[in-house]
């Protein structure tokens, strides 16, 4: 229905306006996590309803119908439907959710944080197979014969041979006149990227630290998904050993124990070498930790792996250090000292949720 679609579009525009306005709040809250589908994210819409004079909370009693002794609780409480007052037009207090395209959300993020678009590294344009029957050649299956072109060719030949008689126009194609359609390949640039979310899940990373990681990962994915047609996400957790996990585990796992960061870097490297070859993929490892490592020797090893193996192969390596009550924060200092010249390395410290937008900007602000 045409008209309603226009009003609906207008409503969605208003919702997007609100979202843009409140984006800062969403950036540091977990509200949107878990609301993401394949293409869209559903945004809870509050404060958009028209205010009216109506009864407040001391008035939520009413008249009901059914069994129950005095003092029995009502069963259907959560479905606030029509009480006696509801015989008017007060509606249930359902919060409306509106689906917003992830691409739109990414645009807003880009605007809000002034993020540059990413220039894919090198000339890694993959040629995807695609095409149409728009080419012409002189041999091929008859079923693909281009009738008009064939006869035009035959006509040309007839005229050139001086056999054309306007009084008796007859054109008979020979085998050489045949024009056959053929499939023409259209090389299509396609860009693929892989994100490694690597998280330290040792005992010192608490709930709040994980929540911060989670929010950051959400926004980073949202942004990169907009930039690349094809985005793979690999979740890695590590304490003293690293392993690849699924998304759910990544966000909910709580391990405890020591921390050996090099285990994660080794795993990341082997994934790059085996599955995500740099010739075909734009690679973005993100590592989140509270900055405590097992030993200085392991840190040295990490630095060596980063400098010699990982950094040359990836677009950018981001290290986000989340402040925790137990972490020393030493790892970031070590990285900064040893790899200050590496352009592909971004390190960033996050104190609390308020710092999330800044961290995202630091990670994505270089347009690499």
């Amino acid at each position: 229905m045409f008209r309603i679609e226009r009003d609906r579009a207008r409503f969605r525009e208003i919702v997007r306006g609100r979202l843009r306005r409140d984006l800062r709040r969403f950036l540091s809250s977990a509200e949107l996590l878990g609301r993401r589908g394949e293409e869209t994210v559903s945004i809870p819409v509050t404060q958009i309803e028209t205010p009216r004079f109506k009864y407040g909370s001391n008035a939520d009693g009413g008249v009901g119908q059914g069994p129950g002794e005095e003092g029995d609780p009502l069963e259907a409480e959560e479905s606030q439907g029509e009480g006696a007052g509801g015989a008017g037009e007060q509606e249930g207090q359902h919060i409306l959710e509106v689906d917003v395209d992830l691409a739109d959300l990414a645009d807003m993020l880009g605007e809000e944080l002034e993020l540059p678009n990413i220039e894919p590294r090198g000339d890694r344009m993959l040629t995807a197979t695609g095409g149409s029957y728009s080419g012409i050649r002189s041999v091929g299956p008859k079923s693909l014969r281009h009738f008009r072109r064939t006869y035009r060719q035959a006509l040309k030949r007839t005229i050139a041979l001086g056999e054309w008689d306007p009084e008796k126009p007859s054109v008979i194609p020979t085998a050489e006149d045949e024009r056959i359609r053929c499939r023409k390949e259209h090389p299509k640039p396609e860009s693929s990227a892989v994100v490694f979310h690597i998280m330290d899940v040792s005992g010192s990373m608490g709930r709040e630290q994980k929540e911060i990681v989670r929010i950051k990962a959400f926004w980073i994915d949202t942004w990169l998904r907009k930039q690349y047609d094809n985005l793979d996400v690999v979740y890695v957790v590590h304490d003293a050993v690293a392993k690849i996990v699924d998304q759910d585990t990544f966000f909910h796992l709580r391990e405890s124990g020591g921390t050996k960061i090099s285990s994660a870097y080794d795993l990341c490297l082997s994934e790059i070498l085996e599955r995500y070859r740099p010739e075909e993929w734009n690679i973005y490892p993100f590592h989140y930790s509270d900055g405590d490592n097992w030993s200085a020797r392991d840190t040295e090893r990490c630095i060596a792996v980063l400098r010699d193996e990982i950094l040359p192969r990836v677009n950018q390596f981001c290290y986000g250090q989340v402040k925790s009550a137990y972490g020393s924060g030493q790892f970031k200092k070590d990285l900064d000292a040893a790899l200050a010249d590496e352009e592909g390395l971004v390190t960033c410290a996050v104190e609390d949720r308020e710092g999330i937008p800044e961290a995202i900007r630091a990670f994505l602000g270089k347009g690499r």
């Binding site: 309603i4 004079f53 009413g62 008249v63 007060q90």
Partner: protein, 452 residues
């Protein structure tokens, strides 16, 4: 683009048969035009309050979004829509089964009879479809001239005030017109309605409950804003009888669909489906009050007592209907109870099964069309050209946060501060807004009576 189509050939004989049956049972209605719509379109229609020609607004888009979610998740399904108009339009959803279509047609005829005869609907405009279309073209013109954002902003303000009307005003006006002269009812109806959109407000004398009317005539508005204000007001008055007669109207329609379908309209193999569908519509969910259920029970109770049902549907609204019929026997039979939030546990629980309390709470919930009763006392409060409103407290407090937002809208419209007297925790409070902020102060009873 055409949004609906005439009913299928297979339904036409049934439509005629059901109308004939309804007429022979004593129902009387304007011509009823049945139209078929697709399930995806019925939500759009419902979002527009039944009027596909209504003015453009994001609000209807939001309503549509909400309903579409409900449909997609299987939470709600609309079977029919019926529009109070002459002729009466009724929309049937194409995916309804044959049994459902029969039920819906019978149900719709109950509503159509109610619209035509109920006293509270007498002052409503029976050419509302055309009027809505006119409103639509006016709003679109204003959007072109003044911009979508400006029109939206003003409509947002006006609509947040659209329950500040006097639900009894149209009927009073109609009665006055009838007393005055002895003309045909139709002419009176016309006149009563035209006064709702006239330039000289009927509510010019303060105090008035017709706050919207007072604003439309006396607020410092641009001509286009004034016209929008009158438009919002006219639509609010058109819809208010439906709010005041939800239980009796649904009860009447359900009573008749049930009566007609079980008296010869159903095939044998449809009876179980009918029982399922009917009991679904009139189910009593614990802790909720289903207007269909309460309404049909009241009519059946009245019939048992040998009362004149047709007179009931003519003179009553929900409040007077319940007042006339609910007694101890009825409350007990329907197992009605009062529920309240337990202050200690914060849980809603059954509080009282006494019929007097039940009846009191029923009436309280329905009075004034279910909205708080708010009166405009003064438009030159303390000689400063400020508005003073009073909320008549009847045991239920206002949602003050939301009331504050309404007052802000009102102050921006009036371009002067506005005040609202209300009661919060047994203390009279004066809430003031200048359009930007909100202030609230306690008022002693002395000052209160002075102000009033």
């Amino acid at each position: 683009m055409r949004q609906s189509s005439p009913i299928d050939a297979s339904l036409r004989p049934w439509a005629e048969r059901i109308q004939a049956l309804a007429r022979s049972a004593g129902l009387d209605f304007f011509d009823v035009v049945f139209e078929m719509v697709e399930p995806s379109q019925v939500n759009a229609l419902a979002a527009y309050g039944g009027f596909p020609v209504r003015y453009p607004s994001w609000r209807f888009g939001m309503e549509f979004e909400r309903m579409e979610k409900g449909r997609q998740w299987g939470l709600s399904k609309i079977y029919e829509l019926v529009i109070n108009n002459d002729p009466t339009y009724a929309y049937l959803v194409r995916t309804n089964s044959m049994m459902e279509q029969k039920l819906v047609m019978a149900h719709v005829l109950g509503h159509a009879d109610f619209f035509k005869h109920n006293a509270w609907f007498q002052p409503t405009d029976r050419g509302m479809l055309d009027r809505m279309a006119h409103h639509g073209s006016r709003v679109r013109r204003f959007v072109d001239a003044y911009g979508q954002d400006n029109v939206d902003r003003f409509l947002d303000q006006a609509i947040s005030l659209d329950n500040l009307i006097d639900p009894f005003l149209p009927a009073r006006e109609l009665a006055r017109a009838k007393d005055g002269r002895d003309e045909a009812t139709a002419v009176h109806t016309e006149r009563a309605f035209s006064s709702l959109e006239s330039h000289t407000s009927v509510g010019a004398n303060l105090p008035t409950y017709d706050v919207l009317g007072h604003l439309a005539e006396h607020a410092p508005l641009e001509p286009w804003q004034r016209e929008l204000m009158r438009l919002v007001r006219a639509e609010a008055y058109y819809f208010v009888p439906q709010r005041m007669t939800k239980i009796i109207n649904e009860g009447w329609a359900s009573f008749w669909h049930s009566r007609m379908l079980t008296h010869g309209l159903l095939e044998t193999d449809e009876i179980v489906d009918f029982a399922d569908c009917h009991s679904g519509a009139t189910a009593a969910v614990p802790g909720q009050l289903n207007p269909y259920k309460l309404g049909i029970e009241l009519f059946r109770y009245a019939e048992e007592k040998g009362l004149d049902l047709f007179k009931f549907r003519k003179i009553h609204n929900d409040t007077s209907f319940i007042d006339a019929l609910v007694d101890e026997e009825f409350a007990e039979r329907c197992s009605l109870f009062v529920y309240d939030r337990n202050p200690k546990s914060g849980v809603l629980e059954v509080a009282d099964r006494g019929w007097i309390e039940v009846k009191k709470r029923l009436l309280q919930g329905l009075s004034w069309g279910g909205a708080p009763r708010i009166e405009l006392l003064d438009d030159d409060y303390e000689g400063r050209g400020e508005l003073l409103l009073r909320h008549h407290f009847e045991g239920r407090e206002l949602d003050l946060a939301e009331a504050g937002d309404v007052l802000k809208h009102l102050a921006r419209l009036w371009r002067r501060p506005v005040h609202l007297l209300t009661t919060e925790r047994e203390q009279t409070r004066l809430v003031t807004s200048d359009g930007e902020g909100i202030q609230a102060v306690d008022v002693t009873d002395d000052e209160d009576s002075q102000a009033a």
